[in-house]
Every structure is written in structure tokens, then in C-alpha cells.
Symmetry: C2
Subunit: 141 residues, 2 copies
DNA sequence: GGTAGATGCTTTATCCACTCAAGCATCATG
DNA sequence: CATGATGCTTGAGTGGATAAAGCATCTACC
């Protein structure tokens, strides 16, 4: 199952709409990743490597165990999408760097992940602002 | 990693807001599931069993292989959250039924999945309508 | 300066989700 | 009744995720 969300008995129309939207987003993300020979997790990690990052940093951002990141990075590394280099100041630490191949692949992935773009394109500029504002407000930010 | 989504280089503020929202939703769903001793996939399946359903039906809804559903249901069954009974008209088919324990657990899960409710509660009724409308429109529906 | 504990990452074991290929039972059709 | 389609399960294999243990290095303190 690509999608963690499920049909909670959404009591209001707004809740249902939220659910459907999240569901569609997740499926589209997964699909775009698979189209490029990536898993969702791999695409997600690749996307965070616009600049070099440490393992700890990645693990914290993803909210998962460091050993999990170790494995995901290892798989990406065997495909030359990513390189591990020892940190400059602390030899325990690793700097994860996206290779050119990794950057290209990620750019392709992003290009093909049309969901967000196409969702946006359904809305007028004013509606886009409204949506962004409402989502932020709903998030309490 | 609980969250399939990643920080696509969202070009617009609306895209960023969408991403953050989906990310938060997914994390909250996963967290609520774990709190009840469920995985996200299990919670998702349990949620679809308000009424009895066949395996094929579930697999189609989830967009995954039937054998995957077989396994998820098997795990739920060993915990007595679900029961498998042979279909009335076709003895090959199975009707999956939530047990009382399953229904109770799912109700608890749903109750504790406060994300959607709390997101909604940040908005006025008019804003809720607006959001629902915008999300539907963004989905092209 | 050397030891103790903290930190950064990896390894190993284990579980679950997921897919694919086979297989079994049953149904529907000729 | 045989043939093929359908509904589900089994088995093998991959990957994501956690937990526990380990290794290397750094930091602080005596």
C-alpha cells in the first residue's frame, strides 16, 4: 500500500476533502518515484540532498532511526546516486553528497511528479493564495 | 520513515503549503496508528471494514496486490481484530468482517487521530467550506 | 595525558509492507 | 465435462522501519 492514509469516517466535507487530497498526493509521489526506479523513501532522501548533509541531520528530518538512513543511503550509494565522505571536522561523521547522476535523476523525478503543479494549475492565482493561507492556518502556523 | 513525501523544490508558496500539510497529515496518521499497536496499513484496512468486504475489493481500493492484503488481513486476524468468512455466493471469495474488538480499536484510533479534526477546528465554518472547495478543485473534481 | 562518557554511524536481527510468480479451489462457458 | 477465468493463498525476494549492540572518535575532566 503506497498510502498511509485511510478513510477515517470523515465527519465533515472538509475532512473528506483533506483525506482525498492527501491520498492523491501520496499516490502520485509514490508513482513518480517508481517510474524512476526509486522508492518513495529514496526519492525523499535524494530530495534533501541539494546540499551535503550528515546522517544524523537526515534522520532527524525524516523522524526515523539513524540506522534506517544508513541503509537507504547504502542502497543509493551502490547505484552511484550518492556518495559518502568523512566529515571535515569530525571523523566520525559523514557528509552525504548527491552525485551528478543523483542530481539528474532527482530533477527528472521532480519534473515527473506533476501532482502539485497540476493541482495548483487548477486554481487561479488568488485561489492559490487562499489555499496556501488556509492550509497554513489549518496547520496552526 | 513514516512519510512518503519529500521536500520537492516547491516553486510556489502554495506547493510548499501543500507539501507541509500532506507531510503533517501522514505523520499524524502513522503516529496515531502506532499508539494503538497498529501499522498505518493495518489502520487503513481496518478503517475500510465498517461493512464486510472482499479481498479483491480491498486490494483494488488500496491499489496493491491481493497477496499483500492477504497478509495484512492475516496479521489482523491473529489479533482477533478481523474475521475471514467464506462468501455466500462464491465459495472462493472471502468476506472480511471486523470483530467487535476490531471496531472498538478502530474507533479509538480514529478518536486519537486528531489531525484532521484539529486542522478543521482552526478554521471558521466559512473557511472550512472554502478549503474543501479549493481542495476539490485542485484535484480536478 | 589518560580515562569516562557522549556522539556518529554501522551491523545484526526482526517485523512489516509490498511485488511477482505459482498454485489451488471454485466458478462459468462452451 | 473440460477449459479457462477468477479469488485467494503461498513462497521467494526487496525494501523500509525499529531496537540493541558495537566500533570509532571526540570531549571533558581529573
Amino acid at each position: 500500500m503506497a498510502v498511509p492514509s485511510g478513510p477515517v469516517a470523515a465527519s465533515t466535507e472538509a475532512e473528506r476533502a483533506m483525506f482525498d487530497f492527501v491520498d492523491a498526493y501520496d499516490r502520485a509521489y509514490e508513482t513518480a518515484a517508481v517510474r524512476h526506479g526509486l522508492t518513495a523513501a529514496q526519492a525523499c532522501v535524494l530530495g534533501r540532498l541539494a546540499d551535503p548533509r550528515g546522517m544524523r541531520e537526515l534522520a532527524d528530518e525524516l523522524g526515523c532511526d539513524a540506522s534506517n538512513v544508513t541503509q537507504i543511503i547504502a542502497r543509493l550509494e551502490t547505484r552511484d546516486l550518492v556518495r559518502r565522505r568523512t566529515g571535515p571536522h569530525d571523523r566520525r561523521s559523514r557528509q552525504i553528497v548527491r552525485t551528478p547522476a543523483g542530481s539528474t535523476l532527482y530533477a527528472d523525478f521532480e519534473e515527473s511528479f506533476a501532482f502539485a503543479r497540476s493541482a495548483i494549475s487548477q486554481l487561479s492565482p488568488a485561489e492559490q493564495d487562499q489555499l496556501a493561507t488556509l492550509l497554513r492556518k489549518a496547520l496552526g502556523r
